[in-house]
Chain length 299, copies 2
């Protein structure tokens, strides 16, 4: 059975694993990612981390998941807010030369989506749309087992989809961007506005929802509506066989996701109302999905 | 050189052509489509039309473009407003049996997009997004030379993308659906509301724009903004290498499309502002695109 090296590079940790072609993790190592160091130091650290693995001859490729949009043609992270030295740095090329294995790179949402489409809940489906509902909101389109990353690595930058043009401007995203109205950060902000300053994070809002606080119920109804409009817009573009929803906010799925489905159905054509939704199924989508990148390219 | 039969079925005419693999039309025939007849009569008429062609041995497949969303797995038109008898009717199977050639089917916007992506202005680009800006608004996603039709044939049903949830309800589409605010029909309706009852169609509005009527200029600015928001939402999902814009409204492109580009750039991430736009280049995208369906499937 073929095996792949998956690398999951984050702002805190870099992890590397040997993953077999059906998605089982056989070895896993991790180190601090030294995200604010210079490029050479970060890359040496990644290489050192990979070398902690016992790399046998049946390892045929390397995939890296990174925290920012990637030009997949050149293997560059085109924006790297959390690891600034690696912006436009030829990471994939350096890794490929060091290990003499074909190396592919994509952003963390895309590799997580790929994992779910190849070895997770969307296995063998021709079109899977993965959405991470977390502190922020990201997406990934997987068609016939390959990530559609986009011309500039910006496919799936669904955070910026406008769900209501009559909102307040908050940051560099569009007025009414779904991330500013329905992400974890947005739920916290809207919770503070409506429930008061004792709200520290989205969990506090969901705690109030669980206690049937009327204002919290109203807020989460509005958040679910906002989130559903973005999903409806995505569905009209790609009509997926399955939406896979991941991310930390889904821990509270019993408190809001039925509303999302209800409002989604109200905003799509009749036949699309049957679109199935599933929650992310894999314990380690980031590292497994990274390892699946070479597999998805026929390696 | 391989050749294909392309069939373009519309509410008025059915046309059939022999098209070679680089997209040249070698023969073209047409007949009334008998759209309101029973299914058997319509199908016999299509078969008769195809048999008017001189079908040589180098013809290796058949593609059909039809006016409604298609389940491409089964070759059924799942909605057929203009040709009601063919809704959920096994058209592709009947044609395949009659001519003993592999037969594929997709809707008219998807085949037009495929034509532009394979032999038109988007030739050889990995991700092309085609938009028809006409009486209505439709879209098509072509990835690696294949149409992404969707699980229920509804990928590209972008008419229903919401660009402003604070509009009036007009029909079965969403409140604020882009087709109700920026299509040819919408331009006519909005023109009548603002410019008066003498407006008969979108051309009358563009005539007023050409004469620099201030109300018409304001209206077309708003229409361009509405249309641009839908394009920005699409771009955040698929980040195409190229948008191709077709359809009758583009005859007036000099009077509105610079505004569309301007507002598009205002609503996408910095790198995506470079997304190129081109206008549809083919004289016969419908019939050429239909013929390209078998080619796109490796026939």
């Amino acid at each position: 059975m073929k095996k792949y090296i998956g690398v999951d590079l984050g702002g805190t940790q870099v992890r590397a694993a040997i993953v077999n072609e059906v998605g089982d993790i056989e070895q896993l190592v991790s180190k601090p990612s030294m995200a604010l160091a210079d490029a050479q130091t970060i890359m040496d650290n990644i290489i050192h981390t990979i070398k902690l693995l016992n790399i046998s001859d049946d390892v045929v490729g390397i995939g890296m998941g990174v925290p920012g949009p990637v030009d997949t043609k050149t293997g560059l992270m085109v924006m790297a807010t959390n690891i600034p030295a690696l912006e436009n740095f030829k990471m994939a090329e350096i890794i490929e030369k060091e290990f003499k294995l074909p190396t592919f790179m994509d952003n963390d949402a895309n590799v997580a989506g790929l994992a779910e489409a190849l070895v997770g809940v969307g296995k063998n489906l021709p079109i899977v749309y993965y959405v991470t509902h977390s502190t922020g909101i990201g997406g990934a389109l997987i068609v016939n087992g390959q990530v559609v990353s986009g011309a500039r690595g910006h496919a799936g930058e669904i955070a910026n989809i406008i769900i209501d043009r009559n909102r307040q401007k908050h940051n560099e995203l569009n007025v009414g961007a779904v991330e500013n109205e329905a992400s974890g950060i947005a739920i916290t902000r809207r919770g503070q506005e409506i429930l008061g300053a004792h709200i520290n994070d989205a969990r506090d809002v969901f705690d109030a929802v669980a206690k049937k606080d009327p204002k919290a119920l109203q807020l989460i109804d509005e958040v679910a509506y906002d989130f559903a409009l973005a999903l409806a817009n995505i569905a009209h573009v790609v009509d997926p066989y399955l939406f896979v929803i991941g991310g930390g906010i889904t821990k509270s799925k019993d408190l809001y996701f039925d509303l999302v489905i209800k409002y989604f159905k109200e905003h799509v054509h009749t036949m699309m109302q049957e679109t199935p939704f599933a929650f992310a199924s894999l314990a380690e989508p980031g590292i497994v999905g990274a390892a699946m990148l070479p597999k998805s390219q026929g390696i």
